[in-house]
Symmetry: C2
DNA sequence: ACCTGAACACCGTTCAAGT
DNA sequence: ACCTGAACACCGTTCAAGT
């Protein structure tokens, strides 16, 4: 609870502002980790800062704007892959790094999903790297753009789903989750679902993530090969 | 839409209920198309039905439940692909059909995204068909399950993004959308983004959808070929 | 059995007013 | 320039009470 520093010798003895935008965003990320996306409200954030909710609107245009600032901060720790690696490996590293970054804060994927198109430097740098990697690999402009969407959407959706499942499991007391429920389906109507029940709830999320990456990587590879031929 | 049958000779001639669950869901879908997801509230739905908001809770457990009923109804028109087709084509038909169904109602993808795991017959049948197609194609149980997730997530995310972009464009007066803004970025920092600006806003959504499908199809194909070998 | 009135506990946002 | 008080226009949900 920061006291506002009062300098006696200050020539312009103004009180310096209690909070700036950066502090608000930091507090919002802290609150996000504590209470989750649904409980992150302007009012709860204000309370955490010992301030009135209306005061936030001096520093931030609105909740939408706050979310996009949070998205920027979330993406700050993104590291770049080694450019000397083959492009397939660069994409793999990139995807895993992005997922790691999204898992670093609770519900971060939901923040990203509602924060609009990237406009800040961190998120722009992230998309720049993806697109550059694809261009370097030899994709044409259109294909590189489309593939960029594809990769970005894959990771964000995956983490979104992965964390929402975790939330759902946490609130429903059922330990084994979907499994028993799926297995109770009429096997005559849904033979494939019942047969695959073991793999339809998330046993090994990491494995499933790598599977998707591999499919995308393979698909892009053959697409590239055909274009070049 | 089960009407409760009214027999004239009924010994207990009670007034029949003003609404049942089916009517509520139909009204909700109608309202969704009129006002969009954000304006679809329990209260606005009640007003449309000339009823108190509290009355809805007699027929429906809550908004969450209503959304899952809506999701079921949205997926009702899903058609099955011809099983004699090669599996790659079946998947292609399936993906396009699913997208068509999601585009048939305003913000349908958002409804699906917030309606929880499929539990009703329509959505279960949809996933059953996808999984069956993959199993028939020769994928193992685990791979089929993972590929099912991948395909489902691809379509829903694509339509979600596609419709949200359309919403954003509609409310901001900027006609050309992202383009001019992207092109104003410092080219030294983001050379690839600037170079690909033309393809980064949605010119031809259909084309981009087909691109993603092709990548996934190719990727699955080589994955299958390697497993078999 | 089905529906209403009225409330509870919240939201995001605005804006005149204070300092 | 920065922050507060108080309000506006909403939410989803509950529940005693009516018919």
């Amino acid at each position: 609870m920061k006291m506002r520093p009062f300098k006696v010798s200050d020539p312009k003895p103004q009180v310096e502002p209690a909070l700036d935008q950066g502090q608000i965003v930091q507090a919002a990320l802290g609150l996000l980790d504590e209470v989750g996306f649904d409980s992150l409200t302007m009012r709860s954030l204000a309370k955490k800062l010992d301030i009135q909710a209306a005061s936030l609107y001096w520093h931030v245009r609105g909740k939408q704007h706050l979310l996009s600032l949070m998205a920027e901060e979330i993406c700050a720790p993104m590291g770049e892959p080694d450019r000397t690696l083959p492009w397939r490996n660069q994409l793999e590293v990139l995807a895993n790094e992005y997922r790691r970054v999204l898992l670093a804060h609770r519900d971060a994927a939901r923040v990203l999903a509602r924060s609009g198109a990237p406009s800040g430097p961190n998120r722009l740098r992230l998309t720049e790297i993806v697109l550059r990697t694809l261009l370097d690999a030899g994709f044409g402009h259109k294909d590189a753009a489309y593939a960029g969407f594809l990769l970005n959407d894959y990771v964000t959706t995956f983490v979104l789903e992965e964390t929402q499942d975790a939330n759902a499991e946490a609130e429903s007391a059922a330990d084994s989750g979907v499994q028993n429920w799926v297995k109770a389906l009429p096997p005559n109507d849904y033979p494939s679902i019942v047969a695959l029940a073991d793999y339809l709830m998330e046993l090994d999320v990491d494995e499933r993530f790598q599977f998707g990456i591999e499919i995308l990587r393979n698909g892009l590879e053959t697409h590239l090969a055909r274009r070049k031929a």
